[in-house]
Symmetry: C2
Subunit: 334 residues, 2 copies
């Protein structure tokens, strides 16, 4: 049976590209592939945090080492990647991806499954931001999801929105199943968190609650949530003492938030885990141990129409757009 | 705020017992607690497999070391535990758990959150079975779920059923949401897998498919599934080439089955992950990378009525009861 992207898997043989240890990033494309000239990587927040903490100022060397060794930017510690923007360079005659040479696109699938080779030694990256300017190439295939970048938004803003566009789409779908639910978002002042808050309101949430780690973060999200609570999302007692939700969305990129989310969710409710720092066993056993009849969802990054929905929310919500713009300014200044 | 079992957490302070590195297993109980004289542990399959592979014949020493160090049987590698049976020894005056001294019970919450102390050095365990005869004590609290063992079933059989009783309950709930679905179970010949197959049929599955690693396993489950497929659940092409399901249930206790499950599931379908060997990021990024619009569920081990439902399925299905009995005989003989 044909496996999407399977041709590029070098080892172990037979797995999908995301599960592979090493991909083939040769620039020559097969008839159904597309080659992209890469301009910028947007590292996954959990991955960037781990790399910074483990490697400090040598983070650039580590990213180069990973990409050279694996043929993709797949952090072996966090298991996560990120996404990229670039310009379509060559489209194979049998490619089903709807792009043309010259299109500036963002990939909406993870870097963990995208063949990538870097050509510039990341000379323009100072290692202090998740956004990594670079030169190199990447290979896409028919089941890759890519969005042509809109003309009306700063490409870096669009990239940051598209990176997390699965979160608002799935949040809206889940919220719409409940009648007048309360929705809590742990990490509500972040990118996926703030988008999820706005999406929840649009999908019928009667009340939205943003949980933030400190007053500075709380200030960012006021106006986008009905209520803002300052609490450590890793502290079940602190969170559940102040928040009771039908749908709880976890967007905090640090480990250990599973139990607070479960304890804050009413029986019959749903927890959606978008953080790549989520522990499967902590979530499963935590709910069991609390005798909590809650649905636990792994945040699938793909839903049909997710990119357009997220960009639409940012266009329609000045506060959201300003939050993203401020985060980008902070990234560049830090 | 009160945190269930929080009093027994020694480090780190403030987390729930399951997240704790170390619990206090002192035998003296608080007014709302229950002390159980432990007769037998049933180690989680993924945990037992890891311990056997890593420690071989010294597995007994390793279990003793873990319980002494952590105050609970919480495998630090797999993050999983198991469950226990024992006899209620003392019930605090404010305990809400409905048990009386002398009741023989099974805990339906994980050993990863149950304070435990062993008193016999596991002298009666040969280290070759997940079922560990022992003497010691454990502490339960009001939000622990425990079932009084039924009189009509061998206690070891009942324990094996109760250990995985969350799987058939959640499978049935999900299957009932679809109209005439096909349901595939990866690892269909195992304990949680076979129960899930029978539960799926009872909940309206028009067709059930068991995926097994070899002919010997396939033979165990014939009669309990409409179709039996021999394929490696870690091989996406092998599985998705032969199985197409609306609901896919993952009960294989080895890592690397996420992508096969996702690829075998139709758009709009659901994958339920019960295996503790599941990788959160492999599941989330795999679905994104395949542009698969499937719901990904973390198998919560608790649903109201799950114990009674699973025991009822075993009582009503001779083939299921025989499969469990054969597994117990094999465990004892190996």
């Amino acid at each position: 049976m044909w496996v999407p992207g399977g041709r590029r898997v070098l080892e172990p043989v037979g797995v999908l590209p995301q599960a592979a240890w090493r991909l083939d990033a040769e620039p020559e494309i097969a008839p159904d592939e597309v080659r992209v000239r890469v301009e910028r990587l947007n590292l996954d927040a959990a991955s960037f945090r781990q790399l910074r903490e483990a490697h400090g100022d040598r983070v650039r060397d580590e990213v180069l080492r990973i990409v050279a060794a694996r043929g993709k930017m797949h952090n072996p510690v966090t298991g996560s990647g990120g996404m990229l923007i670039g310009v379509v360079e060559e489209v194979g005659p049998e490619a089903t991806l709807r792009v043309r040479p010259g299109d500036r696109i963002a990939t909406l699938v993870s870097l963990t499954l995208t063949p990538l080779r870097l050509a510039d030694g990341l000379a323009r990256w100072d290692g202090r931001s998740e956004q990594v300017p670079c030169d190199g190439h990447a290979i896409l295939h028919g089941r890759t999801v890519a969005a042509v970048l809109p003309d009306d938004l700063d490409p870096r803003l669009a990239l940051a929105v598209l990176d997390v566009c699965g979160a608002p789409a799935l949040t809206a779908r889940v919220v719409a199943r409940y009648s007048r639910p309360t929705v809590a978002v742990l990490g509500g002042s972040g990118k996926s968190g703030s988008l999820s808050l706005v999406a929840a309101k649009g999908a019928g949430a009667v009340r939205t609650v943003a949980v933030c780690p400190d007053e500075a973060e709380a200030a960012r999200v006021r106006g986008l949530a009905d209520e803002v609570v300052v609490a450590d999302a890793r502290d079940p007692a602190a969170v559940a003492g102040r928040v009771r939700a039908d749908v709880t969305v976890v967007c905090v990129d640090v480990p250990g938030c599973e139990h607070a989310a479960i304890l804050a969710t009413a029986d019959g409710g749903t927890v959606i885990f978008f953080s790549m720092a989520t522990s499967f066993s902590a979530a499963a056993l935590g709910a069991e141990g609390l005798a909590a009849d809650v649905t636990l969802l792994i945040g699938n990054g793909y839903l049909p129409g997710h990119a357009e929905m997220a960009l639409g929310l940012v266009r329609a919500t000045p506060g959201l757009r300003e939050l993203f713009a401020a985060r980008l300014r902070a990234d560049c200044a830090s």
